[in-house]
Point group: C2
Chain length 476, copies 2
Amino acid sequence: MALIKNEKITSRDVDFAKWYTDIVKQAHLAYYTSVKGCLVLEPYSYAIWENMQKVLDGMFKELGHENVYMPLFIPESLLKKESEHVEGFAPEVAWVTHGGKNELEERLCVRPTSETLFCEYYSNVVNSYRDLPKLYNQWCNVVRWEKSTRPFLRTREFLWQEGHTIHETAEDAEAETHRMLNVYKKFFEEYLAIPVLTGKKTEKEKFAGAEYTLSLEALMYDGVSLQSATSHYFGQKFAKAFDVKFVDRENKLQYVYQTSWGTTTRMIGALIMVHGDDNGLVLPPKIAPKQVVIASIRNNDEVSKVIDQINEELAKEGIRILVDKSDKSAGFKFAEYEMKGIPVRIEVGPRDIANGKVVVARRDTSLKEEVNIADIAQYVKNLLVDIQQSMYNKALKHTQERTYTCTNLEQVKEIMNTKPGFIKAMWCGDPECEAKMKEIRGMKSRCIPFEEEHICDECIVCGKKAKHMVYWGIQY
Amino acid sequence: MALIKNEKITSRDVDFAKWYTDIVKQAHLAYYTSVKGCLVLEPYSYAIWENMQKVLDGMFKELGHENVYMPLFIPESLLKKESEHVEGFAPEVAWVTHGGKNELEERLCVRPTSETLFCEYYSNVVNSYRDLPKLYNQWCNVVRWEKSTRPFLRTREFLWQEGHTIHETAEDAEAETHRMLNVYKKFFEEYLAIPVLTGKKTEKEKFAGAEYTLSLEALMYDGVSLQSATSHYFGQKFAKAFDVKFVDRENKLQYVYQTSWGTTTRMIGALIMVHGDDNGLVLPPKIAPKQVVIASIRNNDEVSKVIDQINEELAKEGIRILVDKSDKSAGFKFAEYEMKGIPVRIEVGPRDIANGKVVVARRDTSLKEEVNIADIAQYVKNLLVDIQQSMYNKALKHTQERTYTCTNLEQVKEIMNTKPGFIKAMWCGDPECEAKMKEIRGMKSRCIPFEEEHICDECIVCGKKAKHMVYWGIQY
């Protein structure tokens, strides 16, 4: 059945970029204001973000992390304390120079990330090894003055969480770095239904100021990859720059070991690009603001009564429900739910209920089934579980089909120009070879996986002895 | 019993301002960084804020409000569209002038409030009366470049929520303005245990750009009042400045009617100053991060077992619990819980449990009672309800005792210089008379209550015919 709203979005196979922005607009996710590169998160995307926050926040707290709130501004002198960090961020920060009518004595940058502020705070809360670890997190807005922007994926202001922890030993801090990456992995796979690669970033791609960066990489429908979360190990680099010391078990002064980790509203972009189709968004049940819509086909008292009854039964199961008894045409209503990616639609019409039945349609496959009203709660409960799993399986299959093993650059070029995806290839460790790879559609190393395969002995670029197997890809 | 930590805070009757900052520091609520006038909200105050958010957010959503997120920045030209608004806010905004190394073509202010951004957004989501009302809210940070600051009460950056709504008619919008003030009143009285005055601000004290402002005023322990929440009615003022129109039921173009309402992390300051005492914070159970602490007096296996058992029983009741089996001295531990204002302390010691008992101490009155372990869950449940109510009653009594009816300025001066509080007095409506009142310790009109009493016929300042009964007070 051709649906009304569909005509409003470009097909994703025709023009993926246009399809993406069409969905952002038609599903009322975000709106560009007169502030260049900054978005309004509309109620629907914000509701998705709130669901993400709720789950992640619970996972963080479960592991003992406490939420705090740091200032929005960082004095220039503070930002400059760690040299690699300032080099990485200074070119893309927004500067506040005036308060009211007065010029400030020292300009302040709007936080692009808060390592420096946390370090200043640490100095004042840590004296002894007994005070460690300190496990903090904050939910906030950050600003990076990007030149080109794209809704959710790259905006000048975005919302995120940033975890910041300090530890007694390198082992503890490294364990935290890995533990939090795994929290993200679990969240992406079990809640967002998005399969991810995990591994270590190369020196060139790591966070400014980190000893190393771990990352989560996901493949979008168009074969382009998205860095979806990162977890950084800082060793004692910042601690030395900010003089964050504690008295250790041997009664000696020692620098703390530090981590940070974060993920952003960019996850909403990932949901769109992994699961969406030509009818709009497709949301995994665990994160969808509304999991089920119960809609009237034609309105009468009987239909209304059945809707209320089903609503009540599903609500008892804790299912998030939208009820729609409006007089709009079924075609119009359904197109709207499809655009919004509501996982399950229950159609309640006079003819079906006369037979004790309703029609249940799933968003991910478009399959419809007649279900006895008496069985509806159990049916929908099972269906939501099934949809969540099917969506993951489908995304995994796509990622697997688009993951290629290559041993020469001609293969890579051929793939990237036709059906791009993740490329597995050997690498010598030389940044020069990464620069060469970049000439192919801007490809970058995504990560060095924790369990590397041995594909061949030579670097795919220079032919010298390979050190690592690397995942490569084009990125958003 | 003299407690160890007490010595760290000044008595509130000796130096209230010092007492306040001592508590902020000793209860680990906030920390000043190198960013002048900006705070770190430490885990404990942030947990209080999260509890406040959860309750208020639920109340807003219950009434149909949806959360959104607007940009942090407002272009200067947008801020200037409504003339009274910009006059009120421009002197105290922070200006971003550079992005990276480049000077911006137009400078951006860091939002002090978001009316202008919402107005820009409204134009794009409202066409017809069928689209109204739109009921939005956002949780975010705002910046006002204040000259003198004080933790929670007045800081250059603070966290808040700002509700923004548009309506078809003036009646609807005015009803919303009152409805949301009542939501705040309910929240303050039932959750924060803080009694409040409600009423309308005078022209002089209203929000920049509003037709009128309603406010919630609470009296602190020292008799100084705190404007605790505000709700503004804008009529069509902003709608005209921003050209926000819709097609009404008569098919005519019409401007929308608008409201906004907000409250901030300043509520944490109110909790401190209304309920705190010389031993630290005293938190109302409904908002306390931990409602009960179960602490060992001396540790042994039996004590540990009883603690676990009580913990389990209270957790079943949904009570938020802190368990402390540490070996620190009871005096030290207790002082810490008192400082943090945990409403109930359960002391588990070998001697008492031999008799099947534990000692239960309440924070608000310091009363202790021996309770049978078998009865503990029911006892604590009732106690928490009782504490919540007692704290409200105590604060109400204090406010009533410090509310004075005056008919001449000599009385007012005498009161404000000895035992300040709310002054009820008649007023002619002339801002000149408000200016005269200000000469008495900076007093301002707090609000014109919804139900005015008739005290006398003459304005307390000029003696001319009075128009209103006004509550006056010194303010934070």
